[in-house]
C-alpha cells in the first residue's frame, strides 16, 4: 500500500468538494474493493475521502411503490430489512447472496454500483428493476448509469447518494456463483415491471447488460420459464476466463433466466 491522506467529511457537499479539489482523491465506503486494490498496489490515490461520517447516507425507506436505499447502506442491512423483503424480496435475496458475512457487513450499495465490477450483483438488480441512481449532482436511470466494465456515468467529483427502486409486479435473481469469490459467473435478474419485462445479466460480459432476446421472448410469449425454451444467447463478446468459457456462460444465461422466471412465479 502506498501512502495517502485520509479525510472524513461530514456532508456530501464537503466530500464532493474534497474530490473536486484533488483529482487523485478517491471515495471509500465499505472498502471491500478499494482496500484490497490498495494493498495490491493497483491504485495509488493521494487521499481517501471516507463517507462513513456523513449523516443520512445509510438507510432504507419505502414510500408508495418506491424503495429508496442510501448509498452507505450495507448489503446485510438490505438483506435483513423487513421493508425490502416485503416490497422487493428479490432485492433482499440478491443482497443476501453477496460474498460472505464479512463482506455483507462492510460493503455498501453505493460502493458496489460505483465500482461496477462486471461480475457484481447489485448492477443486475438496478438494471433489472429499472432503478434510478441518485448522485450528488443529478439522477440517472440505471440504463444510463452503467457504461461498461468498471465504468459508470459518474464524474470524478460526483458521488452516489442513493438508489431508488420501483416496486415490480414480480422479480427474481438467479446467480451461478464464482466458486472462489462468489461474485457472479452469470447472474440474471428478471423483473415484470410497470414499464415492461426486463432481464439484466451480470458476470457474463464486460459489464451489466440487458438480454434483449430474452426480454423479447418473455414479452411475446408471456412471463413463464417455458417462454425461453429454445431461446439461446450468443456467446459473442462474453467473458472467457479460468472459471468459465464464453459458450458455457451463454448457455448459463438462459438457464439462470429460466430459473429466475420460475422463482418469480
Amino acid at each position: 500500500m502506498y501512502a495517502f491522506t485520509y479525510q472524513k467529511p461530514k456532508t456530501v457537499a464537503e466530500a464532493a468538494a474534497a474530490l473536486a479539489a484533488d483529482g487523485d482523491a478517491k471515495v471509500v465506503s465499505g472498502g471491500q474493493t478499494l482496500i484490497p486494490t490498495l494493498k495490491q498496489r493497483l491504485a495509488a490515490p493521494s487521499a481517501l475521502v471516507d463517507l462513513g461520517s456523513i449523516e443520512g447516507l445509510a438507510g432504507i425507506t419505502v414510500a408508495g411503490d418506491t424503495v429508496t436505499i442510501g448509498a452507505m447502506t450495507k448489503h446485510a442491512a438490505v438483506a435483513h430489512s423487513a421493508e425490502v423483503q416485503g416490497a422487493i424480496p428479490a432485492l433482499a435475496a440478491l443482497a443476501e447472496g453477496i460474498g460472505d458475512p464479512q463482506v455483507r457487513n462492510r460493503g455498501t450499495i453505493g460502493g458496489s454500483i460505483a465500482n461496477h465490477d462486471p461480475a457484481a450483483d447489485y448492477p443486475a438488480g438496478c438494471l433489472g428493476l429499472g432503478a434510478t441512481i441518485v448522485t450528488s449532482k443529478r439522477e440517472l436511470s440505471a440504463d444510463d448509469f452503467f457504461t461498461g466494465m468498471f465504468s459508470t456515468a459518474l464524474e470524478d467529483d460526483e458521488l452516489v447518494t442513493a438508489v431508488r427502486f420501483p416496486k415490480p409486479k414480480r422479480a427474481a435473481y438467479a446467480k451461478f456463483p464464482n466458486p472462489a469469490s462468489r461474485y457472479a459467473i452469470v447472474g440474471v435478474f428478471v423483473a415484470d415491471t410497470a414499464s415492461g419485462i426486463r432481464v439484466a445479466v451480470t458476470g457474463a460480459g464486460g459489464g451489466v447488460f440487458r438480454a434483449t432476446e430474452l426480454e423479447a421472448a418473455l414479452t411475446a410469449k408471456g412471463f413463464a420459464a417455458g417462454s425461453l425454451d429454445g431461446v439461446t444467447v450468443s456467446s459473442d463478446g462474453l467473458n472467457s476466463d479460468i472459471h468459465a468459457s464464453a459458450e458455457y456462460r451463454a448457455h448459463l444465461i438462459t438457464v439462470m433466466a429460466k430459473r429466475a422466471v420460475a422463482a418469480a412465479g
Binding site: 451461478f176 466458486p179 472462489a180 469469490s181 479460468i242 468459465a244 468459457s245 458455457y248 438457464v255
Partner: protein
C-alpha cells in the same frame, strides 16, 4: 508398559496437547520471534516464467532508508549451494536464469519490514525473456527449450531387482523411475481383455495458513535458525553443505507450525535468511506472504495412462501405469514422489504382475514437492477411476468387483513385499453401510453413489529414529524426539505412548520442543512415520527408563506404575540412590526397520495406509453443478492411540480431497503466468462446502508396526475422495470424467458436448 492391566492412556480420546494455547493465540510461531538487532527480509521475485538475467543492479536499493544488505546470487554461488532431494538443482537466489514466476532473484534485509519491501522497487533487474515451458506437453515437445542444459549434482539410491531410476535422462526430465515384474509381459499376453485410459490430475496449492517463516542468526559458533520447517535434521544437512559448516555448527530449532501439508518439508527459505544474516552480521527474520507461499511449492499435476489387463471373467491380471508428473522448475522432493507414486500406485487389487514408468517433467512453473499423499493422490485418482469405468464397460458392479478382487490381509502384488495389513473389503463395506439410504430419485437432478479405495504406504524406507525419555527427580517425564508438531497431533500421541509405557498419567509427561542441538535424531515429519517409527523409539526409550528403575530398585520384576516402583515413590527411590537432589533417569532407544535387499526399493513397506470413501452426488444436468450429498470416509490407524486425533486427520484430509475433487487447481496461462495464485482467486474448501452427511470412520486393524499396533493415518483421508466423487457422477449420469477438478463446466461438457 510395566503394569499388567489393560491400557490406561493409549486409546483414551484426549484433546491435543497445546490445543488451548493455539486457540487462544498464545502459541508463538517463528513469525512472532524477536531478537536484539533484528532485521526484516523481503524477497524480489521473478515476474517471468523463464528469462535470462542480463544484469542486477542493487546500488540504489542499498541506499534506501533502513536497508542493511541486498543479496543476489553473486553472494552465494557454486554447485554445493544448490538444494533438492537427489537432484540438487535449486539455487538459493536465481543464478543467471529464472525458471518460474515467483523465483527469488534478490533479497533485502532492513530495519523494518516496510523498509525492506519499499527498497525492493529500487533493485534493477534486466531480463531477456525466454520461451516459457508451462506444461508437461510443452516440456516434452521436440523443440522445447532445454531448462537445464547442464547436468546437476545428483545422488542416486541403490535399487533392488525390478526397479531402476535415472536422473536427468534428458534436459527437461528431472527423473525417471521404472518398475517391471519379470513376468509382466507373459501375464499381459495371456489377458482376455485390456483397457487403456488417460487421466489428468490438476495441481493444488498446499494453502497452509502459517506462511514460511524463519529467523537466522550467526555467532562465533556458527549458524542458528528458528523455523517452521518440518525436517530439522535434513535441513541441518542442507545448511551445513550450503554454508560449508560442520553439522554441529548448525542449529535448527523447529517450532510448532501452523500447518504445512508437505510444503514445509526439506530446504525452503532458510538458506536465504541465513545468507542475509551472514551478510548483515545481524539476525534476520524472513516471513513470506501468502501470495509468495503459493508461488514457492505446489502439489504435482499429472498425466497418467493406466493400462489394465483382465481375465475372461473380469479378474485382475496386470496393470501398468505410465505417469508424467509436472515437477515445476526445480527438483524439491520430486524424485522421491516419483518413486513412491510408481512403486505403490497400482491400487490394492490382486494383480499378478505390475509395471510402471514415472517421469518428472520440468516446467517453468512453481516447483512441486511433498504434498499429503506423496504421489498416492494422483495414482489413486487414475487407478480408481479406471476401475469404475471398466466395470461399467463390462456391466459389472464396481463395489462387488472391488470386494471380490481386493487384496486380503497378508497378500501382496509383489513377491516378498509386505502383505496387506488392513481389512480392505471390510472397510469398503463399512463406508457403504454408513451412507444414509439414498434419497428418492430426483427427476431433474440425477443422483448416484460412488466408492473408491486410495492407497499409499507409510513409514519410509528402512527409516531410523532415535528417542530419549527423561524421568525427572520428581517422577515426571520429558519425551525427546525429532518429530515436528505440524498439527497432526504427534506431541499428544507420543506423550500417550510414553505415559502408557511408564505407567504415568498423561499430565505427568511432556514432549520437548525440537532442536537439533538437543533432540535425538529423526528424519522429520514425513511419510506418516511418527506413530510407526518414532513412537516405537519413544516406547523403547520409556521401556529403558523402566528397566533402569527396576535395576535401581534391585528387582527385575518390580512393578513400575503411577509414579512408584514396587510401591515406593520414584522420587524417594531416586533420592535414596542419588542423594538429596535425586537425578534424572534417561532412557534411550534407536529403532530402524530392516532392509530387504531382494525387493525393488530394498525394504518392505512398513505398513499400508488405505483410504476408503463412499459418496453420493446430485448432478444438475443443465449447469453441470455437482452437489455432494453424502461423503463417508474411513482410515485405519492400526490402533487409535488418540481417536480424536485420528478423526481430525481423516476428516481434515477428506475436506482437502473434496477441494481437490471439485475446484482446487493452480493454473498458469500459456506464458507461464499464474492465474490464481492468490488466496483471493484460488478456491479452497470452506466450512460451507461440507456435505450435509459427512461421516468419518476409524477402523482399527490392530496390525500396525508401531507400539500397541499403531500405524500412521495422516495422509489417508484425501486419497480416495476425487475418484469416489467422479465415480458417483458416472453412476448418476454416465459421464466418465477423466480430468480434475470436476468443475461445473467440465461436468457440463462431459454430459452434453463431448458425448
Amino acid at each position: 508398559m510395566s503394569h499388567p492391566n489393560q491400557l490406561e492412556t493409549v486409546g483414551v480420546p484426549v484433546a491435543q496437547v497445546g490445543a488451548m494455547a493455539r486457540v487462544l493465540g498464545e502459541q508463538p510461531y517463528p513469525c512472532d520471534l524477536a531478537a536484539a538487532g533484528l532485521l526484516h527480509a523481503a524477497v524480489l521475485r521473478s515476474p517471468h516464467a523463464h528469462a535470462r538475467i542480463r544484469s542486477i543492479s542493487t546500488e540504489l536499493a542499498a541506499q534506501q532508508p533502513g536497508v542493511a544488505v541486498v543479496a543476489t546470487a553473486a553472494d552465494l554461488d557454486g554447485p554445493h549451494t544448490r538444494f533438492g532431494v537427489r537432484v540438487r538443482d535449486q539455487p538459493v537466489l536465481a543464478s543467471g536464469v529464472v525458471r518460474h514466476v515467483g523465483e527469488p532473484v534478490a533479497a533485502i534485509a532492513a530495519a523494518t519490514p516496510q523498509q525492506a519491501l519499499a527498497a525492493l522497487a529500487f533493485i534493477q533487474v534486466e531480463y531477456e525473456v525466454l520461451a516459457p515451458v508451462p506444461t508437461i506437453a510443452a516440456a516434452l515437445a521436440a523443440d522445447a527449450p532445454a531448462l537445464f542444459p547442464e547436468a546437476s549434482a545428483t545422488s542416486l539410491p541403490v535399487y533392488g531387482p525390478g526397479a531402476a531410476a535415472c536422473a536427468e535422462p534428458s534436459p527437461n526430465i528431472l527423473w525417471e523411475f521404472t518398475l517391471r515384474d519379470p513376468t509382466f509381459d507373459a501375464v499381459w499376453a495371456g489377458a482376455a481383455q485390456v483397457f487403456e485410459d488417460r487421466y489428468s490430475f490438476a495441481r493444488a496449492s498446499h494453502y497452509h495458513l502459517e506462511p514460511f517463516a524463519c529467523l537466522a542468526r550467526w555467532s562465533g559458533e556458527g549458524l542458528s535458525i528458528d523455523t517452521c520447517n518440518q525436517d530439522p535434521f535434513l535441513l541441518r544437512q542442507d545448511l551445513a553443505r550450503i554454508f560449508a559448516l560442520p553439522e554441529h555448527r548448525v542449529r535448527v530449532a523447529a517450532h510448532a507450525t501452523g500447518a504445512g501439508f508437505g510444503a514445509k518439508s526439506y530446504c525452503k527459505l532458510e538458506p536465504l535468511a541465513a545468507l542475509l544474516a551472514r551478510l548483515a552480521r545481524r539476525p534476520v527474520r524472513l516471513v513470506s506472504s501468502f501470495d509468495e507461499e503459493m508461488l514457492s511449492v505446489t502439489q504435482h499435476g499429472a498425466e497418467i495412462v493406466v493400462r489394465t489387463a483382465l481375465s475372461r471373467d473380469g479378474a485382475p491380471l496386470a496393470r501398468e501405469m505410465l505417469i508424467d508428473l509436472d515437477g515445476g522448475a526445480y527438483a524439491d522432493a520430486s524424485a522421491l514422489v516419483a518413486d513412491k507414486a510408481g512403486y505403490r500406485g497400482f491400487g490394492p487389487y490382486r494383480w499378478q504382475a505390475v509395471a510402471c514408468r514415472v517421469r518428472v517433467v520440468r516446467t517453468t512453473t512453481a516447483p512441486a514437492g511433498s504434498y499429503r499423499g506423496f504421489g498416492g493422490t494422483q495414482t489413486s485418482w487414475a487407478g480408481e477411476r479406471q476401475i469404475d469405468s471398466l466395470c461399467r464397460r463390462l456391466a459389472l458392479d464396481p463395489i462387488a468387483w472391488r470386494r471380490a478382487h481386493l487384496l486380503r490381509v497378508g497378500e501382496a502384488w509383489w513377491p516378498g513385499e509386505a502383505g496387506m495389513d488392513s481389512d480392505l473389503s471390510g472397510g469398503l463395506a463399512a463406508v457403504v453401510a454408513a451412507l444414509d439410504p439414498p434419497a428418492a430419485p430426483h427427476a431433474a437432478r440425477p443422483r448416484g453413489v460412488g466408492v473408491a479405495i486410495g492407497l499409499k504406504d507409510g513409514g519410509g524406507e528402512a527409516r531410523p529414529a532415535n528417542a530419549a525419555v527423561r524421568l525427572t527427580a520428581d517422577g515426571t517425564a520429558i519425551v525427546q524426539a525429532g518429530v515436528v508438531e505440524i498439527g497432526q497431533g504427534a506431541t499428544t500421541a507420543l506423550a500417550q505412548v510414553a505415559a502408557e509405557r511408564l505407567g504415568l498419567p498423561l499430565d505427568r509427561v511432556t514432549v520437548a520442543a525440537v532442536d537439533t542441538d538437543l533432540s535425538p535424531h529423526d528424519l522429520g515429519t514425513h511419510a506418516s512415520s511418527g506413530m510407526a517409527v518414532t513412537a516405537a523409539a519413544v516406547a523403547a526409550a520409556a521401556d529403558d527408563v523402566v528397566a533402569q528403575l527396576r535395576a535401581l530398585a534391585g528387582r527385575a520384576e518390580a512393578v513400575v506404575h503411577a509414579g512408584t516402583v514396587e510401591g515406593e515413590p520414584v522420587a524417594s527411590l531416586l533420592k535414596r540412590r542419588f542423594g538429596p537432589y535425586g537425578a534424572d533417569v534417561i532412557g534411550r532407544a534407536t529403532v530402524q526397520a530392516p532392509r530387504s535387499e531382494g525387493l525393488p526399493l530394498r525394504s518392505q513397506r512398513l505398513y499400508w495406509m488405505p483410504s476408503w470413501a463412499a459418496a453420493e452426488v446430485e448432478v444438475d444436468p443443465l449447469t453441470g453443478q455437482v452437489r455432494v450429498l453424502q461423503l463417508v470416509v474411513a482410515g485405519d490407524p492400526g490402533t487409535a492411540v488418540n481417536v480424536l486425533g485420528c478423526i481430525g486427520q481423516v476428516e481434515g484430509a477428506a475436506v482437502q480431497g473434496l477441494g481437490q475433487a471439485l475446484f482446487e487447481h493452480l493454473r498458469v496461462d500459456s506464458a507461464g503466468q499464474p492465474l490464481n495464485a492468490t488466496p483471493w482467486s484460488y478456491r479452497a474448501p470452506r466450512a460451507t462446502d461440507l456435505p450435509p452427511v459427512f461421516r468419518t470412520l476409524i477402523l482399527e486393524s490392530g496390525l500396525g508396526p508401531g507400539p500397541f499396533g499403531a500405524k500412521g493415518i495422516g495422509e489417508s483421508g484425501n486419497l480416495a475422495i476425487p475418484a469416489a466423487i467422479a465415480n458417483a457422477i458416472e453412476a448418476a449420469t454416465g459421464a466418465a470424467l477423466t480430468s480434475l477438478p470436476l468443475t461445473p463446466e467440465a461436468v457440463f461438457r462431459a454430459l452434453h458436448v463431448d458425448s
